[in-house]
């Protein structure tokens, strides 16, 4: 019944600090490491030139100032104190990493061009090539959105049909079991024959990769619904459509979400491959294009963008799941 304990218990014991200290200590350390990264960038002479040194130094220094300010302000703003305390060690480590990274590449050349790049090099890519990168992000998101949206919708509807209807299961299940394990990319040669444009073919490949796990998991979820729920529904006057829409589908939702998560990961993997085949834009195409010209800094910069987008979409799906499945035991 105590209200104070849960906040501390969610944090690993060694990382938990008593709340309400006068200064956020980790913030000071983070400010120091970020300042060090700024100093390394600005003061030491370059062995290898990557460009955007000044901008990088300014940004990192601003970060350092920010942490220093937060260290003194945050104890008074209770709501932010807990996440700041939790992530403090990460902020410190990121500062150290940036300093070491800049030092080992641009300043000493231990990690040589073109296979490695400095953080200033990545920043330079964003500064110089941002219009093209933005277009590529737009193209990739469009391809992913269409592919995943179509795949998940068709997979969901198909999964409900397979789980609910005996004739559907009889004819569909064997086909699904044969097609399911084949990696979606294996279909690439044939899809280019069947679809009028490479874009359509790419959408199909992404849809296939994301749709199949959604279909398999949804159908098993619908098939596994507790029969007693149907008895209750029938007894209370439910028609078949009510049994499907109000009992089978909500009951199978936890399975469906597992399928959606699997489909999401597969769709990212396939997206890049699909974009490497005859597209004009897109993050996968950009990586392929820059690799051919040994633009590894551009490749790394794109990988950073990709990981942020993918992690963001995964996080988004988690948020949706937590809202939709809030009825599950242990969620509240």
């Amino acid at each position: 019944m105590s209200q104070a304990t849960p906040a501390v218990e969610t944090v690993a014991p060694s990382l938990a600090r008593p709340l309400g200290g006068p200064i956020w200590i980790s913030g000071l350390y983070a400010a120091a490491t970020w300042a060090a990264a700024a100093v390394v960038t600005k003061v030491l002479p370059d062995t290898v030139r990557y460009g955007s040194n000044d901008l990088f130094a300014i940004l990192v220094a601003l970060g350092a100032v920010g942490f220093a300010l937060l260290a003194f302000i945050s104890p008074r703003v209770g709501r932010f104190r807990e996440p700041l305390d939790y992530y403090g060690p990460w902020f410190i480590a990121i500062g150290l990493w940036l300093a070491f990274w800049e030092f080992s590449t641009a300043k000493t050349g231990w990690l040589p061009k073109p296979f490695f790049s400095a953080p200033t090099g990545l920043l330079h890519v964003y500064v110089t090539d941002w219009p093209r990168l933005l277009i590529c992000i737009g193209y990739s998101l469009r391809l992913w959105g269409l592919g995943f949206g179509l795949g998940a919708s068709v997979g969901y509807v198909g999964g409900v049909a397979l789980g609910w209807s005996k004739p559907f299961a009889y004819w569909g299940m064997p086909i699904l079991k044969l097609i399911g394990p084949v990696p979606a990319t294996a279909w690439i040669p044939v899809t280019f024959y069947f679809f009028p444009t490479t874009f359509d073919a790419s959408v199909f490949i992404v849809a296939l990769a994301s749709g199949i796990p959604v279909m398999i998991l949804t159908s098993s979820g619908v098939a596994a619904v507790n029969r007693a729920y149907y008895d209750v529904g029938l007894n209370l006057g439910a028609k078949p459509w009510y049994l499907v829409s109000r009992i089978a589908i909500p009951s199978a939702l936890p399975h469906t979400f597992v399928g959606l998560f699997m489909g999401l990961y597969y769709s990212f993997a396939v997206l890049v491959v699909a974009e490497m085949l005859g597209s004009k834009y897109g993050l996968g195409w950009y990586i392929q294009f820059q690799t051919n010209y040994s633009g590894y800094a551009n490749v790394y910069a794109t990988i950073v963008i990709m990981s942020l987008i993918c992690a963001g979409l995964v996080k988004l799906l988690f948020v949706v799941r937590d809202r939709v499945l809030s009825w599950q035991e242990g969620f509240i």
């Binding site: 507790n226 729920y229 008895d231 007894n235 006057g237 009510y242 009825w327 599950q328």
Partner: protein, 264 residues
């Protein structure tokens, strides 16, 4: 005019209780290619508004009998009628309450209770009945809760509310208190009784608890081992509410246990 009148008084055409006639009823399951007889020539008449209890060894087919009366399953042979009309399928006027509350976990208690009105498309005009049913079982404050947040007794109360919201003429109770702790069970026995006396529906209770049977019902039917036949019948001619320590009840309880082969 007529349509309006029925929409406003959906409960009016439904009789508050119903007489059930079970005639020469036999039932068997198909199991791995062989047939397993479960019920054998059951003849039973339950008067309108009567509360009867079914006792018998476990696995004898009591629950099967309830499912057949509810219309969820069709018998292999024989007929069941409700006020003379054959029972051909499930109907919200005859509601089966299971041992497990079987509330839908994905929706609120209120929505669960509203199920029977929603399936018939009358929920919009009868939202108040859901609140009334929740009030009746003492769960008004838990309307927004999810089933997993309820205790076992509360969940079973919600399940009763889900049945009662339809104003059933017949309540089929399949060991509804079987999984509850003994104190909750005593409370719910009293509540069940007062609901029955208040609403005057017909009730058929399957139970393993002889004391519960004699305390609640006006007639106790004892079934044999599978395939079940009616082995004995005991009238419980005592006014309600009954006291557990009433010597007549205690004697009756001993007699019934003897019929079940358990000397007390």
């Amino acid at each position: 005019m007529a349509a309006q009148a029925t929409a406003r008084h959906v409960e009016a055409p439904i009789a508050s209780s119903v007489a059930i006639d079970v005639h020469d009823l036999s039932h068997s399951f198909r199991l791995h290619g062989s047939t397993l007889p479960v019920l054998d020539s059951i003849n039973l008449r339950v008067g309108s508004g009567e509360f009867i209890a079914l006792l018998g060894p476990s696995g004898c087919g009591k629950s099967t009998l309830l499912r057949l009366i509810s219309g969820l399953d069709q018998p292999t042979a024989g007929t069941i009628t409700a006020d003379g009309a054959p029972i051909l399928g499930p109907d919200p006027s005859r509601i089966l309450v299971f041992q497990d509350p079987t509330l839908f976990p994905w929706t609120s208690v209120w929505k669960n209770v509203a199920t029977g009105l929603e399936t018939r498309g009358v929920l919009k005009h009868h939202r108040g009945r859901v609140d009334d049913a929740l009030e009746l079982v003492g769960l008004a404050d838990f309307a927004r809760a999810y089933p997993h947040q309820l205790s076992g007794g509360m969940a079973q109360r919600a399940s009763l509310a889900r049945a009662l919201v339809n104003d059933p003429a017949l309540l089929l109770l399949d060991e509804p208190l079987g999984k509850l702790d003994s104190l909750t069970r005593l409370t719910l026995q009293a509540e069940l009784l007062s609901l029955w006396r208040d609403k005057a529906f017909t009730a058929i209770l399957v139970t393993h608890d002889v004391e519960e049977a004699v305390l609640l019902s006006s007639r106790v039917i004892v079934l044999s081992e599978r395939p079940a036949r009616i082995k004995a019948e005991f009238a419980v001619d005592l006014p309600y509410p009954r006291r557990r320590d009433n010597p007549v009840l205690i004697a009756l309880r001993r007699q019934i246990l003897g019929t079940l082969g358990l000397e007390a």
